[in-house]
Structures are given as structure tokens and as C-alpha cells.
């Protein structure tokens, strides 16, 4: 990926997520995160993962964050009532995040890449990303695939049980 494109995407992603977690209005925060997810999808395309970019836009931005928006709408949380948006222990949270970031940046100098796999960008481009991903998913990863379908079933049943009205 071009370093200028990477720089723009990285700056936009960090700025949008920082604005989102410090925003007072939950609706604005969710919309900022949706824009951040679109930038992330462009990043995936730059890394040769077109199918994941599509999934990022359709599932993350299109389904999960719209679910967030629906919940804000249903609960009618227009502004965070009670004034304060950060909890009283926010210096602890800030220091934990900063300390972890420092530790991780120091340790990230130790990153070494392991053995190379067989899927070079040329191989993926020759067979298209979606096709190759589907073949690997339905052969090598068939058991995790089945388990994830069970997880989604449990989530559907659990969500209806928890959020459904009792009197109906």
C-alpha cells in the first residue's frame, strides 16, 4: 500500500475512534464509528482482502452498528442524562490504557514474521479472494464454521428471551 494512503487511513481511523469514544452523544459516536469502519474496509482492500472489506461494510457497518442505532432509538437515549460522560475513576482507565500502549510499543519491536504460507498475492489474484476463501472455509475450517452457526443460533434465542416482553 502507498505510504500516503496508509498515513491518511491511519490518521482518519485513530481520529474518528478517539472522537467516538469521547463523544457525548451516542448517536454521533455510532455514526463516527461507522465512518471509521469504512476506512478500515479500504485498509483491507489495500491488504488484498476484498471479501473481508465487503463483510466489514455489510456485517459490521450495515448490521451490528445499525443494531446499536436501533437500541439507542428504542431506549430513547438522546443525550447521556446525568451530565458526566466519564466515570469518576477515569484517570485509572487512562493510565491503564497509556501504560499498556507504552508496553505494547516497546514489545512490538520484537515482532518477527514466521514461516511464509503458500497463498501469495499472485495466487489469490489468479483464483480471486472470495473463491479461495470459500474453498478454505468449507474444507479446513468446516468445524469452526458449524460451531459459529450454533453461536449465532444461541445469540438469536438468547436475545429474544432477554429483550422480549413478558406480557405477550
Amino acid at each position: 500500500m502507498n505510504p500516503i494512503v496508509f498515513g491518511y487511513l491511519a490518521a482518519a481511523i485513530l481520529l474518528l475512534s478517539l472522537l467516538a469514544v469521547t463523544n457525548k452523544n451516542p448517536v454521533h459516536a455510532i455514526l463516527l464509528v461507522i465512518v471509521m469502519f469504512f476506512h478500515m474496509a479500504v485498509m483491507y482492500i489495500g491488504l488484498g482482502a476484498e471479501f473481508l472489506a465487503a463483510v466489514q461494510v455489510i456485517v459490521y457497518a450495515g448490521a451490528i452498528l445499525v443494531l446499536f442505532l436501533f437500541v439507542v432509538f428504542v431506549l430513547n437515549i438522546r443525550e447521556e442524562t446525568g451530565g458526566e460522560r466519564f466515570s469518576s475513576v477515569w484517570p485509572f482507565g487512562l493510565s491503564i490504557a497509556t501504560g499498556l500502549l507504552l508496553l505494547a510499543v516497546i514489545l512490538s519491536g520484537k515482532v518477527r514474521l514466521g514461516a511464509m504460507g503458500p497463498y501469495t498475492p499472485q495466487v489469490i489474484a489468479a483464483e480471486t479472494h472470495t473463491k479461495i476463501l470459500g474453498r478454505v472455509l468449507y474444507t479446513d475450517y468446516i468445524l469452526p464454521f458449524e460451531i459459529s452457526s450454533l453461536i449465532l443460533l444461541v445469540a438469536v434465542v438468547g436475545a429474544i428471551t432477554l429483550a422480549g416482553r413478558e406480557d405477550r
Binding site: V21, F68, E80, V136, I151, L152
Partner: protein, 100 residues
């Protein structure tokens, strides 16, 4: 070409933004949003390493992480709806009915 180190730094910084949001916000919905940001940081690292290692396992992990994130968001928001409907609060520090 962008080296893999830059992606690692971006992923780490994004993850820490999520950690900060999760630990400091009072609103439960903002805490869930911070969890989504953290999951995205991890996804970015998986895709970057898969790209630089010529391997598809990272892409597989991202697909499963997105699936589990969808289930987690649905369950968490259902719990939030049920908590607010039972006349509790949407703020974590006001939910202290079980405090001894």
C-alpha cells in the same frame, strides 16, 4: 511499501483507544462500542499479518471474529434493553443493586 511494523502500531493504538473507552465511559452502549473498536484493531492485525505471511488463516480468524462479534453485540444489547426496561439505569456506576 508499508512495513508490517506500521500496521502493528496502528492496531495497538486503536486497541488502546478501545481500552480507554471501555474503562472510562459510564454509558453501557458506549462500552459496547469500545469493544467493537478493540475487535476491529485485532482484525486489522490479523489481516496485516496474513498479508505479510502469504497465509489465509488470518482471514479465517477475521471471519469468525466478526461472527462472534455479531452474536456478542446482539446478546449485550438485549441485556441492556432488559436492564433499562426493569427501571435500572443505562449507566454502569448506577447499577449497584447487588452491592452488599
Amino acid at each position: 511499501m508499508v512495513p508490517v511494523q506500521w500496521y502493528v502500531w496502528l492496531g495497538l493504538a486503536l486497541f488502546m483507544v478501545g481500552v480507554f473507552g471501555f474503562l472510562t465511559r459510564r454509558s453501557i452502549i458506549m462500552m459496547f462500542l469500545s469493544i467493537e473498536i478493540m475487535l476491529n484493531a485485532v482484525n486489522l492485525l490479523f489481516v496485516a499479518f496474513a498479508h505479510f505471511l502469504n497465509d489465509l488463516r488470518g482471514h479465517m480468524m477475521v471471519i469468525f471474529i466478526i461472527t462472534v462479534a455479531a452474536a456478542e453485540a446482539a446478546m449485550g444489547l438485549a441485556i441492556l434493553v432488559s436492564v433499562v426496561r426493569n427501571r435500572l439505569s443505562a449507566h454502569v456506576d448506577e447499577i449497584k443493586q447487588m452491592k452488599g
